[in-house]
């Protein structure tokens, strides 16, 4: 889970006059890029700390997890005994400090209901969620990029209007409803694709013996080397990826369209047009790349949204990822597990937004100063 990033030592960017005037000159940190990245990296700590604290106290302020999950089932004495054994009877601040200490060591606790180590859950089920989000991102790009470009090019004409309507509809439809429709159509009615799971049961069993086991099904299937298995895994991924990907595609379309229109108004695009460059080339070569810069930033924010969507998608398709186990633990009222998973997601979100800023700084030199 922990993502460590070693930013490649960048060549010192040529300093313009303005930059020279602005750039702070520490003896240690000369490059503005490095300085920027360090500041940004340092900011992760408070962000994660705040989220962990909020989650911890929100979930503990009402009561302890043992009472929550076993409340009706055990007698008061048994409850007290279990609480003492787990350490939930101590002062909350002491528990908090201990929890933080555990997190630093990568210990997220143990689920109350099935006694699984949360860190182990994070690794195995996290891989499944990663796989789902990757597929979905692929779908989102495949749909969002061309449609966004098309809408910008034919602005206010039929393609634009229909694409924008599509984007609004896709945003308005909850992922689980889209998922339900996809299941109804492609699996219940047409019978083309499987309705749930990450692979057929037999394939899944066969793939447990793959070494090294990555828990990313498609990689495991490729390592196993059976084309039939690869196909089976792909078939299972199509519907979930579509459901989650469409949601994100709607956002991409709007973003790309707006930024492209913005860029199309700039002087250098007018200049290109004046030189007689065809509209197609103007859009593709001149405007598109520059229009993508702000899009990168927003994509970082999409990661949080996609993780939220992944929870719902996984529940819809019984895709055994973090969201799927999270909703299971939620229903079982296993709040130790819930807390661990939510905390881990918070860490991932904080790190990915850092990564996006890094990418942004590398792509756009203006960010660094």
């Amino acid at each position: 889970m922990a993502v460590t990033v070693v930013p490649p030592a960048p060549p010192a960017p040529p300093a313009t006059d303005v930059a020279r005037a602005r750039a702070p000159r520490g003896p240690l940190v000369r490059s503005p890029l490095v300085r920027y990245l360090l500041v940004r990296l340092a900011l992760i700590v408070p962000t994660v700390l705040i989220l962990v604290t909020v989650v911890f106290f929100f979930m503990r302020v009402i009561g302890d997890p043992i009472t929550a999950s076993q409340g009706g089932r055990l007698s008061a004495d048994q409850l007290a005994e279990r609480k003492a054994a787990a350490g939930f009877d101590r002062p909350i601040l002491q528990q908090y400090a201990e929890y933080l200490g555990g997190l630093v060591r990568g210990d997220f606790g143990t689920a109350l209901t099935d006694r699984r180590e949360i860190s182990e859950v994070l690794v195995t089920n996290g891989a499944a969620t990663l796989e789902l989000t990757m597929w979905a991102l692929l779908v989102a790009f495949a749909i969002g990029l061309p449609l966004g470009r098309l809408a910008a090019r034919y602005r206010d004409r039929l393609p634009d209007v229909s694409i924008r309507l599509f984007a609004v509809l896709v945003y308005a439809a909850p992922v689980f409803f889209v998922g339900l429709l996809l299941k109804l159509l492609f699996s219940a009615t047409l019978g083309w694709l499987p309705a749930s799971g990450r692979a057929s049961a037999s394939v899944e069993i066969a793939l447990t013996n793959v070494t090294p086991k990555t828990n990313i099904m498609i990689v495991d299937a490729i390592l196993y080397g059976d084309p039939g298995y690869i196909l089976n895994v792909l078939e299972h991924a199509i519907l979930p990826a579509l459901a989650l990907g469409l949601l994100t595609a709607g956002v991409f379309i709007r973003l790309i369209r707006i930024n492209l229109l913005e860029t199309m108004r700039t002087d250098y695009v007018t200049a290109a047009r004046a030189r007689g460059v065809s509209e197609r080339v103007v859009v593709r070569k001149h405007a598109f790349r520059n229009a993508m810069v702000p899009v990168v930033t927003v994509m970082g924010m999409q990661i949080a949204m996609m993780l939220g969507g992944a929870i719902l998608t996984e529940t819809t398709f019984e895709w055994q990822g973090l969201g799927y186990v999270l909703s299971r633990y939620l229903l079982a009222r296993d709040f130790v597990a819930v807390q661990g998973i939510v905390t881990a997601i918070a860490v991932v979100v904080a790190f990915s937004s850092f990564l996006i800023d890094v990418v942004n700084a590398l792509v756009d030199p203006r960010v660094r100063y």
């Binding site: 602005r22 500041v39 945003y171 219940a188 949601l247 939220g308 904080a350």
Partner: protein, 368 residues
């Protein structure tokens, strides 16, 4: 779920006080044209129908939302649509049409509660924090930025756990769901209002008020607040659609409102999930369509409002500045007030520091 929020940020030009505009009414409608008017009208119609259905639910619905029999006759489970049950019946034997209609009532209650509580908390917090500044302001910015970056559904789940902890009453259920959603929205209002306050508080008219001896409270609420509130209607509208989606998400995961206390579309979709394998479509399609319809309606109105309430961005017969060009995603990944990581548009090297792409009004450009 989506973080697309339409705001105008740094380059806020205080509107001339004479340009006061009535809220949704004829004036609003008249300022639109063509496609935009169509969008606004469609959205308003959908919302009107939604509100009427929600309010008149007990009259309109053929049966109660939680009954499986009428006059001693059991409906039967998973019955396909028929004359007696236009939308069929659920796995629990309830009338789908009635549940969809009563679901509108739940959704409306949660939207109204969630949006008004967030407004009541977020807006004053943002204005005061932005105006007073200092350490508290910085701390609040840090906290709200952290919360803002977090998947909203997860945050809502955590709060729902905290509030209900398993027990819920009919009214409490709706209230708890609304509060869970509120926690997601407060940071949004805070950010928007605070950032605008920071840029407005140095305007000459605020200085003038200060010099004449106005108290901070008066300055904040009489001079600053009216000038930072333009984007609030847009944000509130878009939040309304997000509230529906979050409520449905909570319900879908089984963490929304107790099923016996109110009908909720997300919960119904969850129950409908297992029906799909038998090809039973009516239990899921209707509540799902209800969500899509209402969210679409509210989003259309929100987008149109954004175009209209920012007069600088209004479409006029295909003029150069279509509003949606200035629409943008609320500004950024977490960035800390001043010393934090800079976004492209804050860069001193940026030729357009006010950032067209950040949704600033296009006045300057138009005037040049």
């Amino acid at each position: 779920m989506t973080a697309i929020v339409v705001t105008e940020t740094s380059g806020l030009t205080p509107l001339a006080p004479t340009r006061r505009r009535g809220l949704p009414g004829m004036a609003l409608l008249r300022s639109t044209h063509g496609l935009q008017r169509g969008m606004l009208l469609t959205g308003l119609t959908i919302i009107a129908v939604f509100v009427v259905v929600a309010v008149l639910a007990p009259v309109l619905a053929p049966y109660g939302f939680n009954v499986d029999r009428a006059d001693g006759v059991v409906f039967g489970t998973q019955q396909p649509p028929s004359a007696a049950h236009w939308f069929g019946t659920t796995v629990g034997g309830q009338d789908v049409l009635s549940r969809v209609i009563f679901g509108a009532r739940t959704a409306l209650a949660v939207i109204v509660l969630a949006v008004s509580i967030s407004l009541l908390v977020g807006v004053p917090l943002g204005v005061v924090s932005g105006y007073v500044g200092g350490k508290v302001d910085r701390a609040l910015v840090l906290v709200t930025d952290a919360l803002y970056a977090f998947p909203s559904l997860l945050l809502a789940i955590v709060v729902a756990i905290m509030i209900t902890n398993g027990r819920s009453t009919p009214l409490g259920g709706i209230f708890a769901a609304a509060l869970s959603i509120t926690v997601v929205f407060v940071p949004q209002y805070f950010r928007v209002v605070r950032n605008q306050t920071v840029s407005v508080k140095n305007e000459p008219f605020v200085d003038a008020a200060r010099i004449t001896g106005a108290r901070p409270r008066r300055i904040i609420f009489r001079h600053v607040l009216p000038n930072v509130s333009q984007s609030i209607p847009v944000l509130a509208t878009l939040n309304a659609s997000e509230a529906i989606l979050t409520l449905a998400g909570l319900g879908f995961l089984g963490f929304g409102i107790e099923p016996s206390s109110a009908a909720e579309w997300g919960y119904d979709l969850n129950k409908a999930l297992s029906d799909t394998s038998n090809g039973i479509w009516w239990t899921g399609v209707y509540p799902g369509l209800a969500i899509v319809l209402v969210v679409t309606g509210v989003t259309l109105v929100g987008e149109s409002l954004n175009d209209i309430l920012n007069p600088m961005l209004r479409t006029r017969g295909g003029g150069a500045t279509t509003a949606d060009e200035a629409e943008i995603v609320a500004d950024d990944a977490p960035s800390v007030a001043d010393g934090g990581p800079r976004q492209a548009h804050d860069s001193p090297l940026d030729p357009d520091p006010d950032g067209l792409a950040a949704g600033a009004p296009l006045t300057e450009e138009a005037g040049r």
